[in-house]
Amino acid sequence: MMLSVRDLKVSFRTDDGLVRAIDGVSFDLEEGEILGVVGESGSGKTVSLLAVMGLITDPNAVIEGSIRYRGRELVGLPARELRRLRGNEIAMIFQDPMTALTPVYTIGWQIAEQIQAHRKVSRSVALARVEELLAEVNFPNPREAMSRYPHQLSGGMRQRAVIAMALSCNPALLVADEPTTALDVTVQAGILDLVRKLRATHNSAVVFITHDMGVVSELADRVMVMYAGRIVERGSRAELFGDPSHPYTRALLGSIPPLTGEKPRRLPAIPGSPPSLLRLPKGCAFAPRCPARYEPCDGAKPVLTGGSHAAACFRVAQA
């Protein structure tokens, strides 16, 4: 097991009280596996992975639970130790590539710096590696691109430069947080291909966070659906999309307009909006919007039950 997260809880102390952004998340990731994490804003998909990366530095954050990477506990690991892992064995790419690039240095300089921070190599060796990497992420002219500044590249190119940077030390684990959300579909298709290629050539494990069910179904081996800080359903791609069992997953899939075939006159919409984490209901957080709601839903929070395909729902557990 490469990554094993157990009962992860992340809370933030705010003026309005304690906000529990992540409430008991557990999952495993095998070597070379692509895990898709789906959820809306506020579902906790980003915060849970930031916690895994040790990137929650807010002094008001409280992190509980266990995160084991290749048998090593990451919660409570000193910052220096974490830094050695991050960027080297574990890499991350974000939604907006501009936040990961400095505007004042060239692409080549930045990626070479990253390599030299983790490997004892000369500048020229590092620069040669940068050229290889840029070619790998499909820059048509990698040598020329190295001398470019981020603002001289298009959004898709920037994201590819960030991916090249993430790949620079052959990471065993890549965490991608909505890396294609700001991009056009045509560019997105290229980036998704790149992620697939990375897994094939480096056997890297990937955690891919997105709100787009279509992206997950094309990329992931296993899928985890989050709502209001908890996992509501998880399973293999075939299980989750072929036989979704949680009412939220079903409703979310149902509300996507089809790209082919008959157009429904009205879309089956989910009423209401995602709950505020400050005012979560006592029972299931989805209950107020759920078409299958009944008494038990308001009494307690359902726990994830089932084997590889599991859902956190009283109705499903009862059936």
Binding site: V185, A189, D212, L252, L259
Partner: protein, 331 residues
């Protein structure tokens, strides 16, 4: 979306419409330059129908939308509203037109004044354009709130007290306050959570039926555009490359660019074998400052021939009303 459509006179028509921006000054390194953001666009929108505009970022769809409501001055061609030329009408003489032509923007938190109550925000167009009394305005605002699915006591709230979906409902209430004929919707659901998008899409369909509205709907989410549109126009580098009935264009796109665009949309498939064939375009959208010669899509086109490099294809009408700007369309 309404059943009976009066197809006689289009509500809106553009004839070879263009928008040029000049950028830089004579002191910049490359001097003054001109960008053709929208180039030679001829479109019609019929009464009660929805025309969808799709294309990648930077293709000029939002610029076109702003030209259609005269938020930008039009630099070339003509804009006709119910057959009347409104291309260069003065702002004062545009006012009667503004009542009938409204716009909804992408980000409702940016287009609503945070310091005013939403009831006031919806009442504002009524105060500007109508002679309604205070009580009349209050009554109309209450009607509008009901129409868009907000509660009557919401009028005293401020925009920040609402969720994104509710804020977009306020934006829509404001746009339909004056009973417009045509509403231009620029990415109205893109900023919303997935689970809320369908609500707004349904609301827009209901309002169209009830109020006999025509829509121009812009979005980068192609499945949403297909859902709401009767016809769609695909834009590339400021021009329309394909236009037709939305289900037909999605089922059998004729322009190589439309084919690539539609094939790139990720869809939920349960079996890997069911995955559709994907066309991946090489390179990026060229800069509109230096558009390629001939067909503007030729550097990225998988089927480009010599002719495409020199001769620019015109938007030509084929059978079933499909229009395609390509020398070698698959139709």
């Amino acid at each position: 979306m309404s059943e009976e459509m009066n197809t006689d006179q289009p509500i809106l028509e553009t004839r070879a419409l263009g928008k040029r921006f000049s950028i830089g000054t004579r002191f910049s390194s490359e001097g003054r330059r001109v960008v053709h953001a929208v180039d030679n666009v001829s479109l019609t929108v019929r009464r009660g129908e929805t025309l969808g505009l799709v294309g990648e970022s930077g293709c000029g769809k939002s610029t076109l939308a702003r030209c259609l409501v005269r938020l930008y001055d039009i630099t070339d061609g003509q804009l006709l509203f119910e057959g009347n030329d409104v291309t260069s009408k003065s702002l004062a003489s545009l006012r009667p037109l503004r009542r009938r032509l409204q716009m909804v923007f992408q980000d409702p938190s940016a287009s609503l004044n945070p310091r005013r109550r939403v009831g006031d925000l919806v009442a504002e167009p009524l105060r500007v354009h109508t002679k309604l009394s205070g009580a009349g305005i209050r009554q109309r605002v209450a009607e509008l709130f009901e129409l868009v699915g907000l509660l009557p006591d919401h009028v005293v709230r401020y925009p920040h007290e609402f969720s994104g979906g509710q804020r977009q409902r306020v934006g829509i209430a404001r746009a339909i306050a004056l009973n417009p004929d045509l509403v231009v919707l620029d990415e109205p659901v893109s900023a919303l959570d997935v689970s809320v998008q369908a609500q707004i899409v349904n609301l827009l369909a209901d309002l169209q039926d009830k109020l006999k509205l025509s829509y121009i709907f812009i979005a980068h989410d192609l499945s949403v555009v297909r859902q709401v549109s009767n016809r769609i126009a695909v834009m590339y580098l400021g021009s329309i490359v394909e236009e037709g009935a939305s289900e037909d264009v999605f089922a059998t796109p004729a322009h190589p660019y439309s084919q690539a665009l539609i094939s790139a949309v990720p869809v939920v498939e349960t079996t890997p074998s069911g995955r559709r064939k994907r066309i991946i375009l090489s390179g990026d959208v060229p800069s509109p400052l230096k558009p390629p010669s001939g067909c503007r899509f030729h550097p990225r086109c998988p089927v480009a021939q010599d002719r495409c490099r020199t001769e620019r294809p015109a938007l030509q009408e084929h059978k079933t009303g499909r229009k395609v700007a390509c020398h070698f369309p698959t139709i």
